[in-house]
Amino acid sequence: MTPSLMLFYVLGGLLVIASLMVVFLSSVVHSAMALVAALFLIAILFLTLHAPMVGVLQVLVYAGAIMVLFLFVIMLLNPAAVEPRRRFGWGFGIVASLLLAGALVAVMTNGEAPLDPVAATELFGSPETLAKSLFTDFVLPFEIASVLLLVAIIGAVVLAKRES
């Protein structure tokens, strides 16, 4: 077993465990901490896939900004610690997601997969190539994303402020 394969198994196993902890832990704060762990593991997986810039962005945006926002809301609302169990929910949910996982794996492993990565140059995934691609081929989506973020800022302020 090569070292990269072993690294993948360790990261993948930890990622599945952290994702299961997000779903199955009863405390909301514990779920949020497990989600932070899962996001960091995904960032490390990005690094192994020649995407260092996206991995850094993952840590900054997800594990930094979004999770801090989640924790702020959890502490602001302080929801009741115990949530009631749904009557039929768990069995139905587990069966449905197992079916979904089986179908997804079957569909995704069906095609002719390329065995070796084409992009093994050291520039691939660097900030330069990402920015060059972003500002030449994807200029219009980039601008639309900026408008979307502006709308999100205004919408959050309007939704969360108290009516007076």
């Binding site: 997986l45 929801p79 997601s97 390329p114």
Partner: protein, 100 residues
């Protein structure tokens, strides 16, 4: 080198776990976190394809997914705060005013 299929299977499993969280949990914040988990599973698939096909389009798509996920989290949490202020609960089963 790890084959592409391994990354795809890992992404599919994490996505299914996120779907499980959306179905079974009765806490809106955890439901939102499960949605983030699903988005990240898709991001992993994008990055794996970008690496194995040698195209930057996958990484740029992940960049946009992150921007949309940030907007979605902000708006979703604002809605949760607003709902909690009105009804004092985070249980989605209690929010059935539109259900006939």
């Amino acid at each position: 080198m790890v084959p592409l299929n391994y990354y795809l299977i890992l992404g599919a499993v994490v996505f299914a776990i996120g779907v499980l969280g959306v179905i079974v949990r009765r806490d809106l914040i955890v439901v939102l976190m499960s949605i983030e988990l699903m988005l990240n599973a898709v991001n992993l698939t994008f990055i794996a394809f970008a690496c194995f096909l040698g195209s930057m389009a996958g990484q740029v798509a992940v960049f946009f997914v992150m921007a949309v996920a940030a907007a979605e989290a902000v708006i979703g949490l604002a809605i949760i705060i607003s709902v909690f202020r009105h009804r004092q609960t985070l249980d989605p089963q209690e929010m059935q005013l539109l259900k006939w």
